[in-house]
Amino acid sequence: MGERPTAQWPEGGVSRIPYWAYSDPGVYAREQERIFGGRSWSYVALEAEIPNAGDYKRTFIGDKPVVVVRDAEGGLNVVENRCAHRGVQFCQKHLGNAGGEFMCPYHQWTYDLKGNLIGVPFRRGVKQQGGMPPDFDPANHGLSKLKVEARHGVVFASFAKDVEPLESFMGETMLALFDRIFDGRKLEVLGYSRQLIPANWKLMFENIKDPYHASLLHVFLVSFGLFRADQPSKVVMDSTGRHGALVSWKGEQQKTTDTADMKSLKDDFKLNDPTMLQPVREFPEYTVVMTTLWPNLIIQQQSNTLAMRQLVTRGPTSFELAWTFFGYETDDDEMRLRRLRQANLMGPSGFVSADDSEIMKFSQEGVQPYPEAAGVMEMGGRDWQDEPHMVTEAAIRSFYDYYRKVMDL
């Protein structure tokens, strides 16, 4: 499983991305093992989703099902959603309250909220017949537990026991951007949106790490000056290149020779109902920050709409994009409504995001039949470093730089 593919990474380093990387089952198996099962912190939940003892959330890391559960002492636990007995995926609801325990419905093995096995029916047999061997020790048959860390209400988990602490995993730059949104205020979940996108999961990261497309593909963003190539912006990465962020802020915008390149710019497009786009300045400095955290999370701040976009892989050619929109408990009705209105930009029906899910499908349809070909990532150079503009694919190159190391490709 997860063998190194025989195909070679093309010449040109990370300025070329081989198309076999988007569909090869061997590469996918290796990603599950080395990336999602490796020394990384995957996003699993917001604490606001599971505020009380017994509250749980069923989710996935890569394609492995896990359950995030709050125990009686208020602690956070992440366990594999797989009974220690015969492997049944015992938890079947997205969210709920387990009471004091999880019970597998098959043979009623029962676990406490920390994942310890506390009950095995007929363990001593029936009428002195059968039962588990005398040396069966429940302490050795609990649910498989993951490492857990939470920061300011956001919960991450790792299959690797020797993963570095979450803070150093994120690195200074990403941590500062993270704390900008998650500043310790309690969060309020506004709702969920889920898409099954028929494309390789890496295409989603490429999309959000690529500011070049945003000012061209997204006519809507461009026409309303929400994101344009001529506005002040930057692309930043952590020291490993695995995480990245696109940052932009409001500046003077006018039609110039540069914007003439944006064939999609429609100056005459005006909203009949402008209430959807009446953002207020809420965070210091930046109006848009799209943070991509290796290996499964996009944190979205587009003006006042905030969301976690969690990537759940569903085989090499498909992934689920699970959106959790949120605000803060301190939001008044007006702010909540503003967030809900701006959410129209995002998700499967988003004025903006729907372009992306469609394009990712087009990408998969183009790359999958041509595994021998490769993508060209030369905008802004062939290497990567932080850039004070958005005419660059540097954050894609940095992602693949780290990806190649982890995958040994």
Partner: protein, 166 residues
């Protein structure tokens, strides 16, 4: 007798026939991609939402599609026609099980099941979205119109993108 009174005084059977015709017209306008006609099925001060059932049942306010006015419906149509990038598709809507819950003030409360089938260029037709319409219908200018239309969908995972209205 005003148009509104005419509807108020209709027998249940007559009202059902009117509603069946109304929903058939609504679905036909969308199925035939006459999107410019779509806002005309709503009053100016309308609400139109497509909302995942999990949000609806938990009382979470987020909608996949959240329109608060007929003007916003017009904006959506402009986006479909002019700004959004998407693959060609056919969507066909089946509306069945129309139930009249009764009048609430001047609005008729109606529930119905809907099923939207999607056909993409290189793929077989598939179930795209299914759920319940939860509608409030009023009479305006002698015609039935939606004051509120909620499409609460069971199929939580949207297959890629939801571009056209339901």
């Amino acid at each position: 007798m005003s148009a509104a009174e005419r509807y108020l005084n209709m027998s249940a059977g007559e009202l059902r026939l009117e509603l069946e015709a109304f929903y058939a017209d609504y679905a036909a306008a969308l199925d035939e991609e006459r999107f410019e006609d779509w806002p005309g099925f709503f009053v100016a001060d309308c609400t139109y939402k497509i909302i995942p059932r999990e949000n609806f049942e938990r009382g979470l306010p987020l909608a996949t599609w959240f329109s608060e006015s007929r003007n916003n419906l017009h904006d959506r149509v402009v986006a479909i026609r002019k700004t959004m990038v998407y693959a060609p598709r056919y969507v066909r809507r089946m509306v069945t099980g129309i139930r009249i819950l009764g009048w609430e003030g001047d609005a008729l409360q109606v529930r119905a099941n809907y099923l939207a089938l999607e056909t993409l260029t290189d793929e077989l037709t598939r179930v795209f979205n299914t759920g319940q319409y939860r509608d409030r219908i009023v009479v305006e200018g002698g015609r039935l119109k939606f004051r509120e239309k909620l499409c609460v969908f069971d199929s939580l995972l949207v297959p890629n993108s939801l571009i056209f209205p339901l």
